[in-house]
């Protein structure tokens, strides 16, 4: 009988070594990889997410847990189906044109990956055209736009407009975030969602793909 609780506990305590052992043991015992992923790892990251929201886990600890999960997903990948184990939709995320800030955006990407989404992190200073190309190339269902500067917020609208012009608006949900961004701004530029922090961004992305 596989002890999924032990896996979630190892994940929550950021014990990568123990988690890896437990996952390897489960695989050796013939537990289906998808079951390990969902009942052990993603369930553990859900607890991590809650603890982060409550202030019980600090960001660096959450990231260590995410890394531990990532290394275990690598073990499971060959055993999973064609989708490589990702149980969620394809997400592309990037900082908009003219803006080079990426810490918050990277945090959001990591949280989304930990939530089981397939995240393609495009980096910083991404033009509207590049976002459009990547939506097509990655068959994205969610596009996340980040900006830290008030001067680069207009590039978010330009990106939304470019997605509309490319005829891709019905294919994707668009989320926006960054220090100066608000729900009102998200509404104004025609985005589907705004999240004030990484944890809620990850939750929102999952809810938008349901």
């Amino acid at each position: 009988m596989t002890d999924f609780n032990a896996m979630t506990e190892a994940l929550v305590s950021c014990d990568a070594g123990k988690l890896t052992d437990l996952v390897n043991d489960a695989v050796a015992a013939g537990v289906p990889a998808g079951e390990i992923l969902n009942k052990g790892l993603i369930a553990g990251m859900d607890i991590v997410g809650e603890k982060m929201e409550n202030g019980d886990m600090f960001i660096p600890e959450v990231l260590m847990a995410a890394q531990a999960m990532g290394s275990c997903v690598e073990i499971l990948k060959p055993l999973l189906g064609d989708d490589g184990g990702a149980s969620g939709a394809s997400v592309i995320i990037g900082t908009v044109k003219g803006d080079l800030h990426d810490i918050g955006k990277n945090l959001v990407a990591m949280m989304m990956e930990s939530a089981g989404l397939t995240v393609h992190n495009l980096g910083v200073d991404i033009s509207p055209e590049s976002f459009v190309e990547e939506i097509k190339a990655k068959n994205a269902k969610i596009v996340c736009l980040s900006a830290l500067l008030t001067t680069t917020m207009p590039a978010m609208k330009q990106t939304v407009d470019a997605i509309v012009e490319a005829g891709l608006r019905d294919q994707v949900k668009i989320m926006v975030g960054g220090a100066p961004v608000t729900q009102a701004f998200a509404d104004e530029i025609g985005a589907d969602g705004f999240a004030p922090d990484a944890g809620s961004a990850s939750k929102m992305a999952k809810s938008l793909t349901v």
Binding site: I59, P60, L100, T151, P180
Partner: protein, 480 residues
């Protein structure tokens, strides 16, 4: 525990190692060429200074300089042990009300803050981007519109905008029109200071380097401003983060001198911590105060003028949190003799919003700290041995002439604090709020527009029109 002097040496040693062996990435081919031509090692877009090179280049920056105002009464001497203050000025897109509810900032808010700064004796510098007005076009001329407005409404020194080459060149053109001078004339009498922010860790982006280049070419002061966040864009330990911030700031100062030797350059720091629970920048923290302390100490060790905050805080509204945090960081700045004390009034929420009420509360904080810094006098009148003898044991001083003669100057008089009994029927929150709003209204009512010749206004109009700005529409908005 090592002495502060030893810690400064340790930080300097660490920063020199960073500069020599790790390098600072400059996203700007032109500035890299300038560095290369000055004999600096350039590899993979990064500059690597030897300690000797770095210290030679920063030595060309003046240790003190004057920023000139239209009204000479507001000229500012920056450096040494003097502290001059400047309002909060970070492109705030929002105005927060007393409950902390945000609304988009408007051009009318910008105008109000320019008027408030003009009316604030603590401040001799005005303008900049105290708020980013939602109702002005967000284009290259956004800041030039604000600079034009400031030139019309204020006769104090000037603060720069968001930066970038086009905006900075427009800025210089407006200043040459306003002061009827040319590039060298501007350099001889600097009129405007601007921030050059780093992209931590250890990078400068193209826009900021363009700003540095245009300002330095015109001899206008640049304020090199790393805002390293301990734990996210810098090491979680403050010593490492300060060493990183120091390295970034020194390289910026050196670059300013390579562009034009003698350019006034202020060694700055907006460095602070990160809240490890949320990842948020924390500027109202004790770490922020420590960063201010070491900014001042290091700059003075290098013989450079320094910039540091401020009534910094992470509070969402005018609250106990805002008071605690703002006072602590501001007190550190005054005690450490920060030269250019930036963000001294008005901001809330980690550079997120401006607040009218916070602005006047912060003036009160500045006032009480100045009172403390001015210290007591021990002259004969202050020692008051005469009155003490006359009153003798068991008497009282309220009715003594010495008290009547000195009662308006001997103690700090707060415009904000509730002192004495509350008036009948008024609760404490209402009474305190009323003091804040009354003060804002009083200052705005007292504002008088300084004179500016019609010839100068016409030149400014023509200059702004060249940038495709609808001057008539802007004036209409201003009059409204």
């Amino acid at each position: 525990m090592a002495s502060t002097e030893q810690k400064l040496k340790d930080l300097d040693r660490a920063s020199m190692k960073i500069i020599e062996t790790i390098g600072v990435k400059l996203h700007h081919a032109g500035i890299l060429d300038i560095a290369r031509s000055c004999g600096i090692r350039v590899e993979d877009g990064k500059v690597f200074f030897t300690e000797a090179q770095l210290k030679e280049w920063i030595s060309y920056a003046p240790s003190t300089f004057t920023l000139y105002a239209r009204n000479p009464e507001h000229d500012m001497e920056i450096g040494g042990d003097r502290t001059v203050h400047a309002s909060s000025n970070s492109g705030f897109p929002f105005i927060a009300d007393l409950a902390g509810t945000r609304r988009p900032a408007l051009f009318s808010d910008y105008v109000n803050f320019v008027k408030l700064v003009q009316e604030t004796p603590f401040f001799h510098i005005n303008g900049g981007v105290m708020v980013t007005p939602e109702d002005l076009p967000n284009d290259e001329a956004l800041y030039p519109r604000m600079l034009y407005t400031t030139l019309l409404l204020s006769d104090k020194c000037l603060f720069g905008g968001m930066g970038g080459r086009i905006e900075s060149e427009m800025t210089m053109a407006l200043l040459m029109a306003a002061f009827d001078t040319d590039k060298e004339g501007l350099a001889a009498k600097p009129r405007i200071a601007n921030l050059v922010s780093t992209l931590s860790p250890l990078q400068y982006d193209e826009k900021m380097l363009d700003t540095l280049q245009v300002f330095a070419e015109h001899g206008q002061p640049v304020i090199i401003s790393p805002a390293v966040m301990a734990g996210s864009t810098g090491p979680v330990t403050m010593a490492g983060t300060i060493a990183l911030s120091n390295a970034e700031s020194l390289v910026g100062v050196a670059l300013s001198q390579m562009i034009r030797k003698g350019t006034p350059a202020i060694y700055g720091s907006a460095t602070s911590g990160t809240d490890m629970r949320t990842g948020a920048f924390t500027i109202g923290s004790p770490e922020s105060a420590l960063a201010v302390k070491y900014c001042a100490r290091l700059a003075k060790m290098y013989g450079l003028p320094c910039r540091g905050g401020g009534t910094l805080n992470d509070a969402k509204n005018v609250s106990v949190q805002a008071g605690i945090e703002s006072t602590m960081v501001q007190m550190a700045a005054n005690l450490e003799k920060i030269n250019f004390n930036f963000h001294s009034a008005g901001s809330l929420d980690t550079y997120g919003a401006m607040s009218y009420e916070k602005y006047v509360v912060d003036l009160d904080i500045l006032g009480r700290i100045r009172f403390y810094m001015d210290d007591i006098s021990t002259d004969e009148d202050s020692l008051a041995l005469g009155p003490i003898a006359e009153v003798g044991p068991g008497g009282q001083y309220l009715t003594h002439m010495h008290t009547a003669m000195n009662c308006r100057t001997a103690a700090f008089i707060s415009d904000i604090s509730l002192q004495g009994a509350l008036k009948n029927g008024m609760d404490a929150d209402t009474a305190l709020t009323k003091k804040m709003t009354d003060k804002v209204e009083k200052m705005l009512a007292a504002y008088r527009q300084p004179e500016l010749s019609s010839r100068t206004i016409a030149k400014l109009d023509a200059c702004l029109a060249k940038f495709d700005v609808d001057v008539a529409a802007l004036k209409e908005k201003l009059d409204a």
